[in-house]
Every structure is written in structure tokens, then in C-alpha cells.
């Protein structure tokens, strides 16, 4: 190798990653189109293109399929980005908003918002449930962070703590359901199953806003997070404020998880599968890994949305059920192929 070829060789790797990101973006676009073209009414994309002349088709396209398909992409991206950031800062490949109980905490917060009709003057009702979900997710995050900083708390301890958190949050959720009215219980059940059926453009905009705020901030800390992969002590000795970085990241994760969960309910495994897929394809340079994880999460969620409308003809299954059923085998395959690849 000549003196200049090391950086040149590395630039070829960078180009490869840019190509992969572009490919993922194109795949998300295709998945989105497929999702829009799929529905229980059996109306095809070619028919929908004529929607302007038909009020019924117009409603199906603009008020049902498009907002739901866009929501799938946004929620998938938000959860996978949250999972990727968590896995890096907690140094734990099993960390995700779902496995550490953040999703459940957000669901509990949302349930409290619904049942107790919490409101603040000047804040629109649409914002109150997400705000409750966010507050609960932040509280759960701070608990996880406190444990992660406890001396001697290893990766296994954090995951076990997450499992305990899931159980506690579920127990509290059941308690709230027990005392809630039938109407509120129905709304809560919708949350726990995870469904795109109530997506609207307004809700899409809120999740997009959360992503638009978080992704650029994540990318600004990409070098520090990449360095953190070399070990916490190493990173701290370089002057990287690891404690502060972790807290900021976990607050971002809370926002992303709460934004996603507030409108579509509990969606499992996207926060795990997205980052693992991105790591496998792109590596861990966080400049590429973070957007890669978001795109991979968006792709898997969009495909799950299509599957939820295709498995039983004429019926839309809650997408949370599909992600769990498809996510587990996909995740296991990923893990095993990753081990073989080493």
C-alpha cells in the first residue's frame, strides 16, 4: 500500500456505505408504495391513481392508506433509531425501547392520560396523551440510566432490570384497565396491541417532528458514540463526557419511543431488528449506522404493515402482532448469521 492509499481505501468503504444507504432508502420507497397499494378493500394502486375523480377512492387514499403507510415508516424509523442509540450508550446489543420497558412505560403513561383525562390549559387534547407517554418514558429512562451507572451493573443486569420493568408496567396497566371505563379499556387495548389504524396526517406530523428533532442531534454526536464503541473507560479518558452523553441520548430515546407508542401503541422488536440489520450491513460508524438503523426499521415496519393487510384477506391485523411474529424469527436469523460471519 502506498502512503496515501490508507485513506483512499477507507473512502472506498465510505462509498460502499453510501450506496447501501441509498439502496435502503429505495427499498423503503418501494415498501411504502406496496403498503399504499395494499388494503382490505382490494383496491389496486392503478385505481388509487384515479382517486381525484372518485370521492370514495380519495378518502381511502388520502385519509386511510397514505397516513397509515407513512406512519409505519415514521414509527419504524423512530423505534429503530431509539434502539440503535440505546444499544450504543448502554453497551448492550439487547437494549431497545421494548426490551428495557420504555415502550411499556409510555403505554402506561398514555393509559393514565386516557383514563384520568389529564389536561393542561393551553395544550391541545391531541398532545396530552403523547405528553403523558413521554413523561412516563422519561421516568423509566432515568431509572434505566441510574442502574446503568451503578457500579458493577453489567449488560445482563440492565436487561434483567428491563424485564422486571416490563412486568411492573404491565401490572400497573392492568390495574388501570381494571378501574377504567369500557370505552377507555378499548382504547388501552388498542395501544397494547399496536395498530396503525388510527393514524392521521396530524399524528404523522408529530412523529415526523420527533424524528426531525432527534436525528440531526444524534448525528451531531456520531463521532462520540462511535468512540464509545471502543469502551467506556477509553472514551472517558479521551475527555468524552460519557455520563452526559448517555443522559442526552436516553432523553432522545424517550421522545422517540413516546412519539411512536402514543399513536400506534406497543410495537415490539423493530427497535432490536432495525439496529442489528444496519450493523450487519453498514457497520458501526454512527454517521452511517444511525440513519441506516432508522431506514432498516422503517423498511421492516412498512413490510410488516403490508403483511398485516395481506395475511388474512379482507382483514387488517394489528401491526404489533405481525412485528412480534415476524420479528422474533428474523431477529434470531440475524443473530445466528452474525455469529457465523465472525
Amino acid at each position: 500500500m502506498t502512503a496515501a492509499s490508507l485513506a483512499q481505501g477507507y473512502r472506498r468503504h465510505i462509498l460502499g456505505r453510501v450506496a447501501l444507504l441509498t439502496g435502503l432508502l429505495a427499498a423503503v420507497g418501494l415498501a411504502l408504495l406496496t403498503d399504499i397499494a395494499t388494503g382490505p378493500s382490494g383496491i389496486r394502486l392503478t385505481d388509487l391513481l384515479r382517486a381525484e375523480n372518485d370521492p370514495a377512492l380519495h378518502i381511502i387514499l388520502w385519509e386511510i392508506r397514505l397516513p397509515q403507510a407513512v406512519m409505519a415508516v415514521l414509527v419504524g424509523a423512530a423505534l429503530a433509531l431509539a434502539g440503535a442509540e440505546m444499544q450504543t450508550t448502554l453497551n448492550n446489543a439487547l437494549a431497545s425501547p421494548f426490551t428495557l420497558g420504555l415502550t411499556n412505560a409510555a403505554t402506561l403513561g398514555a393509559a393514565c392520560g386516557i383514563v384520568f383525562e389529564i389536561s393542561f390549559p393551553g395544550i391541545p387534547a391531541l398532545w396530552m396523551v403523547p405528553l403523558n407517554a413521554f413523561a412516563a418514558a422519561v421516568a423509566a429512562t432515568l431509572l434505566v440510566n441510574a442502574l446503568a451507572r451503578t457500579q458493577g451493573a453489567g449488560a445482563d443486569t440492565i436487561v434483567l432490570f428491563g424485564i422486571a420493568m416490563v412486568f411492573v408496567m404491565n401490572a400497573l396497566l392492568w390495574l388501570i384497565q381494571y378501574v377504567a371505563s369500557a370505552d377507555a379499556v378499548q382504547q388501552i387495548v388498542f395501544w397494547t396491541m399496536g395498530s396503525l389504524s388510527r393514524a392521521t396526517w396530524e399524528k404523522d406530523a408529530l412523529v415526523a417532528l420527533a424524528l426531525a428533532v432527534c436525528l440531526p442531534l444524534s448525528l451531531r454526536q456520531a463521532w462520540a458514540m462511535t468512540t464509545l464503541r471502543s469502551g467506556e473507560d477509553h472514551a472517558r479518558s479521551f475527555g468524552i463526557p460519557v455520563g452526559r452523553l448517555r443522559l442526552i441520548v436516553l432523553l432522545r430515546v424517550s421522545l422517540l419511543a413516546a412519539a411512536a407508542v402514543s399513536f400506534v401503541g406497543t410495537i415490539g422488536f423493530i427497535g432490536l431488528v432495525g439496529p442489528h440489520l444496519a450493523r450487519l450491513l453498514i457497520g458501526e460508524d454512527h454517521r452511517f449506522y444511525l440513519p441506516g438503523a432508522a431506514l432498516a426499521g422503517a423498511l421492516v415496519m412498512s413490510l410488516a404493515s403490508t403483511a398485516s393487510k395481506s395475511i388474512v384477506p379482507g382483514l387488517v391485523l394489528p401491526v404489533g402482532i405481525v412485528t412480534a411474529l415476524v420479528g422474533i424469527p428474523l431477529f434470531m436469523t440475524l443473530l445466528l448469521s452474525q455469529r457465523r460471519g465472525r
Binding site: 490508507l6 462520540a224 464503541r229 471502543s230 469502551g231 479518558s237 457497520g283
Partner: protein
């Protein structure tokens, strides 16, 4: 440039690990070996100087305090063990360190620095391989590159040769020697191999019982009495043909 330690003490909870450590000032250009049995406080001392471990007393590099927040811009610390299994390329592990801590450097000068470090350590062939595919010793070398690329004035190396084969052990210590000789920096190296320390270090600090058992040149520090106190072994110290002391441990003493 010099390093001054005075009354340095570290404790874990109520358990004191180091008490009142006050070695003689360490001048620039020195390579100082930290020796001692397991748990003697070698890693603890390095972590305290790197600002990773709370400590009392005083430690100054060129008169500037080291304890507390440390001086990350001037101190380079290599931990004993580095994580396994990262899909990061070796090149980008070093690049990320530099970009995260020196955002003022241009891309071109960052690349130049990395090229120079990989050349110096003879690691060009590993640069574009994933960390997960490297051996423990190779990962240790990349960890050392992450430290050296920042051009620190004080090197704190915790067992940098423990995972390396003989050739790489010598290569690392030769590199550290040439760095300290060529630039106004100094190195503190925690090391288990006494003979390697005697060969490459100007001075040895031998730790034991929470304090300093010896602070002298290898020839003066390595005596059967000190080795018996530090390691609970019966040992002979003999000069080799190159003039360095060689330790031959004969048997473990009852403790």
C-alpha cells in the same frame, strides 16, 4: 515537562488501595514501569491519573493538576481490556477518536496523523479490517493507536503487552521508548513481565501494601528482598550479558 505525585491516595469505598504515594518527580523522556502483585494498585494509579478514579493528594503534569477531571488533551490512557466484537474498522476506531476529541483538525491532517500512527506501529495491513476479526493483541495495538494519534504528553498504559506475542511486546515497548525519547513526553506502564520492564524502563515504581516498595532504576529496585515483599516469591536477580538485571523466580513463599 515533568510529573509530580504527592501523598496520592485512592480508596474503593472504605477499602484503601493506595495510601500516601509520593515518588520522586518523573522528568520528561522517562519510561516508568509500575510493578506489583495483582491488586497492588497499578491499574488504580493509572485510572486516577487519567481522571477516571477519584483520588486525594496531588498529581501535577507541568504544574497543572491531573486529579479530578484530568487533562484528557494531554493524557493518553490505554485500558487493560478493550471490547471485543465491534464491527468497526480499525481505521475508523482511530478516526472516530480523533474526530470526537479534536474537531478543530482538518480532515487532511487527521488522515495524515492516522497514517503516521499506523506506519509507526506497523499496522497498515490491519487498518481496513473489522475490530471483531482481529486477535486480542491486534485490538490492543489499535487501542494504542487511538491513544498515540492524539499525541499525548503523558502516556498511561495498563498492561499494554499482556495480550501480545513476543515480537509485538518488543515492538510496543520500542515504540513507547522512541516516542518518549523523540518528544517531550513520558510514559507510565503497568506491566507484569518484570524482565521486560527491566529491559525497557528507566525507572521502576514497585507497589505493595498500599504504598511504594521501591522507586529506583531497575538495577537498584529489583532486589530479592523487594521481590519477596512485592510478590511473595523467592527470587534471584542476575545481570544479563547486555547489562540488564534478570529476575529468576525460584519458588512461591507462604503468605
Amino acid at each position: 515537562m515533568s510529573l509530580h505525585l504527592k501523598d496520592l491516595s485512592v480508596q474503593y469505598g472504605r477499602h484503601p488501595v493506595l495510601t500516601g504515594l509520593s515518588p520522586a518527580p518523573i522528568p520528561a523522556g522517562s519510561v516508568v514501569g509500575l510493578l506489583g502483585a495483582n491488586g497492588a494498585g497499578k491499574s488504580t494509579l493509572l485510572r486516577a491519573l487519567a481522571g477516571l478514579q477519584a483520588a486525594s493528594g496531588d498529581a501535577r503534569l507541568d504544574g497543572e493538576p491531573l486529579l479530578g477531571r484530568g487533562q484528557p488533551d494531554r493524557v493518553g490512557y490505554l485500558p487493560q481490556s478493550l471490547p471485543q466484537g465491534s464491527p468497526l474498522l480499525a481505521y475508523e476506531a482511530v478516526l472516530s477518536t480523533l474526530r470526537a476529541t479534536r474537531p478543530d483538525l482538518s480532515a487532511a491532517s487527521a488522515e495524515q496523523r492516522i497514517e503516521a500512527v499506523f506506519d509507526r506501529l506497523g499496522l497498515r495491513d490491519l487498518a481496513l479490517r473489522k475490530m471483531a476479526q482481529l486477535s486480542g493483541g491486534q485490538r490492543q495495538m489499535i487501542g494504542l493507536s487511538q491513544v498515540l494519534v492524539r499525541q499525548p504528553r503523558l502516556l498511561l498504559l495498563d498492561e499494554p503487552t499482556s495480550a501480545l506475542d513476543l515480537r509485538w511486546q518488543l515492538a510496543v515497548l520500542q515504540t513507547v521508548r522512541s516516542l518518549t525519547a523523540g518528544r517531550s513526553c513520558l510514559a507510565l506502564i503497568a506491566i507484569h513481565d518484570i524482565n521486560l520492564a527491566a529491559r525497557f524502563c528507566d525507572r521502576l515504581l514497585i507497589l505493595g501494601n498500599g504504598g511504594l516498595l521501591a522507586d529506583a532504576t531497575p538495577t537498584d529496585a529489583l532486589t530479592p528482598e523487594v521481590l519477596a515483599r512485592a510478590y511473595a516469591v523467592e527470587a534471584r536477580v542476575e545481570p544479563c550479558s547486555a547489562g540488564f538485571p534478570v529476575v529468576l523466580a525460584d519458588r512461591a513463599l507462604p503468605v
